[in-house]
């Protein structure tokens, strides 16, 4: 197991390296001079622009800039936002908990809703319940979360007054954004659970389980669902990444602090150092979660061993 872990971490290394090159190039791929871009179109003196180049190290050769960037990263330094004059690590650190809470809450919604609907549809295969669930899933996949968020705010905040429309802190401010975020994910998970379960339901050992007199509840939960979970786990892993990027829209609509909102603000203000930091961090999360999903396969299926 530990050897496998080491291998996995080692294989993540080239990915991370490529990522740093990509993120680093971001500043230099933008048309025009990055220093001028960041300062905006306000008429500023050449002196100010030069000063900014100096501080950002933009006047040094490209490879030196890259090495400085990577060595900074290795020391946990994501750079300093020139506009806000704050360390990017600090800016991200302050809002990251809010994004993680939202993402996990959204994932929770997606899993609970998705698995329940998937099971329901599979067990009632080819009935109206199955059809209704799949129509629901289709709507869920197609509906833009931006629109859904506004509709939920309109219904539950403005009309019914049940939840506040903005801000963070407290479960009442988490429910609407988490539901919005998790909705699309639940649709994808439901479809995967359904198809995976239908496959398992046709297996011989299920017939055996039924033949030996196990109740339908036990069969579905103990035998079918557990065996159907492997492909579902993969989807959940992919979903996590999608949810993390989905927070960009949700955080803006619900005025929640978070790295998604930070990213949007940074893009609008052309604060490249912040954009780099958020992109890099999100990618690392994605890698980490996929590793965790791979490891969790062994929990779902003891036949899978890592050596």
């Amino acid at each position: 197991m530990s050897v496998y872990l080491l291998q996995r971490f080692a294989s993540a290394f080239p990915v991370l390296l490529g990522l740093t090159i990509l993120v680093f190039s971001l500043v230099h791929l933008v048309p025009g001079d990055p220093a001028e871009q960041m300062l905006g179109e306000a008429a500023v003196s050449q002196e100010v622009i030069e000063n900014m180049r100096e501080q950002l190290g933009l006047n040094r050769p490209l490879h030196e800039q890259y090495l400085a960037y990577v060595s900074g990263l290795l020391q946990g330094d994501l750079g300093t936002s020139f506009l806000a004059r704050r360390s990017v690590a600090d800016m991200i650190g302050r809002v990251l908990p809010s994004t993680l809470i939202l993402t996990f809450a959204g994932l929770g919604v997606a899993i609970v809703l998705g698995v329940s609907l998937g099971v329901l549809a599979a067990v009632n295969h080819n009935s109206w319940i199955d059809n209704a669930t799949m129509v629901f899933a289709l709507i869920g996949v197609s509906m833009p979360s931006f629109w859904l968020g506004l509709m939920l705010i309109f219904t539950f905040s403005l009309q019914l007054g049940w939840f506040p429309a903005t801000g963070s802190g407290g479960i009442e401010r988490l429910i609407l954004p988490a539901a919005t975020l998790g909705f699309a994910g639940s649709a994808i998970i439901a479809r995967m659970v359904r198809s995976s379960m239908l496959e398992v339901l046709g297996q011989d050992y299920i017939r055996t389980a039924r033949a030996k007199g196990l109740g339908p509840r036990t069969v579905v939960l103990q035998h079918v669902l557990k065996n159907a979970m492997i492909p579902v786990l993969t989807v959940i892993g992919l979903e996590f990444g999608r949810l993390l990027s989905g927070t960009v829209v949700i955080e803006v609509v619900f005025s929640r602090p978070g790295i998604g909102r930070l990213l949007v603000d940074a893009i609008l203000k052309k604060d490249f150092i912040v954009i780099q930091g958020v992109v890099l961090l999100s990618a690392c999360f994605y890698l980490l979660v996929n590793l965790m999903i791979d490891l969790s396969y062994s929990l779902a299926d003891p036949r899978i061993r890592y050596s």
């Binding site: 306000a42 705010i153 905040s157 801000g167």
Partner: protein, 526 residues
């Protein structure tokens, strides 16, 4: 596109002159919904309008200027200007303290000016306010003299901008780069907490006792606290004032105004932004708009009343001219007085110039089609909508319009280059008619997108900026506006407006001339 200029801080008291009618009660917390979070609140660094909206409740300035060009004492009790206009001596108010308890004195004023001038500060807008400032000299603890390199009619008023606000030198030194998160000024409110992406909480500065005379009361603010909450989505922001999550919201989009206007539970507050209207700068260097006849025909062909009614629900006023109607020194109605909406007049001008109507409805001359290309900034949807309206209205007189959608950077680059478009929409917020030079003087500034050059106009605005007599200055600027209209370099669309919605419990909101709300005299009736 919006830029902030020097703050006049003249007051337009809305919400029914509440100050005079009700005995204001102390206490309470005001929650304000604001569109976006500023990058920094360092007054000397920021160039963002939203930083200003909050900042001028946190900092004060040396002088206070009203909308008729008058200047009032604030942190400076009085001042003298030398006969040659190069030396300004300020006699400062005593007993003023910063939020950290440090005294305000001549040293803090010198520190501020030096800090703004220092390139390491990377000042975005304060540096522009400093104009021809060269150096300062402390005469005693409460007297300081500034030396300018040339006379400037703007300089004293520039000192009323919240960008040029004294801050505690001790706090700047102690906080370093963190100062922008927690600026320490002398204003009626001081910062308690700035939660990233979420809100800024300020509380009453209890020792405050130096508001300028036009504010109506000089003592501490009535409110205990103000929380500025950042709500980027316009519809959600509007929703929060209905649910009571906020008491007042900024930047109500004009198309949502009807919803609030018809609701008796809310007040709609409107304050005009000064500067240029949202207007189209017409390029005088690129054919066919290098021809004054074509430019004049364009000005006759556009029905701004219809645009205001259809796109903006009639809540804003049609464009006044090179400057908005409320701008000091503006000639009221100059656009429509010079060029009434008259498609027949436009057609006659074009006929006389040899542009003949073709069978496809587009005019031609010697095989050239009369095509006008408009640079459209894609970041702001409004410009796309306006572009389509112009396409249809100019099409009615046989002018073909081609829209050139561009993202901000290439858009700005194309505008500066000036070789590939005929018209571009923009708006410039400024409080002094000197803005005419910024837009139309030969090589005037970063925004000379008409690429206009007229020595007669240049001479007039150059003389005006050196005059200190308001009447003489405004007379010159009136001439300048007439020249701009005669040469048809600007197509004014509408005078921009800051539209806010507040619940009925909020009274005594005061707008400065930059149309930013001032909460020093605000109080709650609940």
């Amino acid at each position: 596109m919006r830029f902030i200029g020097s703050m006049f801080a003249a007051l337009v008291i809305l919400s029914g002159a509440a100050l005079a009618q009700n005995e204001p009660q102390m206490g309470g917390k005001l929650t304000v919904g604001i569109e976006y979070e500023p990058v920094t609140l360092d007054p000397h660094v920021t160039g963002q309008a939203n930083a200003r909206r909050m900042l001028h409740n946190i900092v004060d300035t040396l002088v206070y200027g009203d909308d008729e060009g008058g200047i009032h004492p604030w942190l400076a009790e009085s001042w003298e200007i030398s006969d040659d206009g190069l030396e300004y001596t300020f006699y400062l108010r005593q007993g003023v303290t910063f939020h950290d308890g440090e005294p305000f004195n001549a040293e803090s004023v010198q520190y501020m000016w030096d800090r703004i001038m220092d390139p390491a500060t990377a000042s975005a807008s304060a540096i522009a306010e400093m104009g021809p400032f060269e150096r300062s000299e402390i005469l005693d603890d409460y007297t300081i003299r500034a030396y300018l390199s040339e006379p400037s009619a703007l300089w004293l008023r520039s000192m009323s901008s919240s960008a040029v606000a004294p801050v505690s030198p001790a706090a700047v030194e102690a906080l370093g780069d963190r100062f922008g998160r927690a600026p320490v000024g002398t204003g009626p409110f001081r910062i308690v907490e700035w939660a990233d992406n979420e809100s800024l909480l300020v509380e009453r500065h209890p020792d405050y006792d130096w508001a300028p005379e036009p504010f109506g009361h000089s003592g501490p603010a009535f409110l205990d606290e103000i929380e500025f909450v950042f709500i980027p989505e316009a519809q959600v922001r509007l929703g929060t004032v209905e649910t009571g999550e906020t008491d007042i919201i900024e930047e109500v989009p004009p198309r949502f105004v009807d919803m609030i206007d018809e609701n008796p539970d809310f007040n709609l507050l409107r304050a005009p932004y000064n500067g240029s209207p949202l207007h189209y700068m017409i390029n005088t260097q690129v054919a066919p708009t290098d021809e004054v006849a074509v430019r004049r025909a364009i000005l006759h062909s556009v029905n701004t009343e219809a645009i205001v009614d259809n796109l903006y629900a009639g809540v804003v006023e049609p464009g006044n001219g090179p400057m908005t109607a409320t701008m000091p020194g503006s000639v009221e109605g100059i656009y429509r007085d010079t060029y009434p909406f008259d498609t027949e007049a436009a057609a006659a001008i074009l006929d006389d110039a040899g542009w003949e109507l073709g069978s496809d409805g587009v005019r031609t001359r010697d095989g050239e089609r009369l095509t006008v290309r408009i640079n459209v900034l894609t970041d702001v949807p409004e410009y796309g909508e306006l572009g389509q309206v112009l396409q249809s209205q100019l099409g009615d007189v046989g002018i073909e319009v081609v829209l050139q959608p561009l993202a901000r950077s290439p858009w700005a680059a194309s505008n500066n280059e000036g070789t590939d478009y005929n018209m571009v929409g923009m708006g410039l917020w400024r409080n002094d008619p000197h803005m005419l030079s910024l837009l139309w003087r030969t090589d005037g500034s970063a925004f000379t997108w008409s690429h206009y050059s007229n020595p007669e106009f240049d001479a007039i605005v150059d003389e005006a900026v050196r005059l200190t007599d308001v009447e003489q200055r405004f007379a010159l600027y009136a001439e300048a506006q007439a020249i701009l209209m005669e040469d048809a370099v600007s197509l004014p669309i509408y005078d921009q407006m800051n539209i806010m919605a507040a619940n009925l419990a909020v009274e005594g909101i005061v707008f400065d001339q930059s149309a930013f709300p001032f909460y020093h005299a605000t109080h709650l009736t609940r």
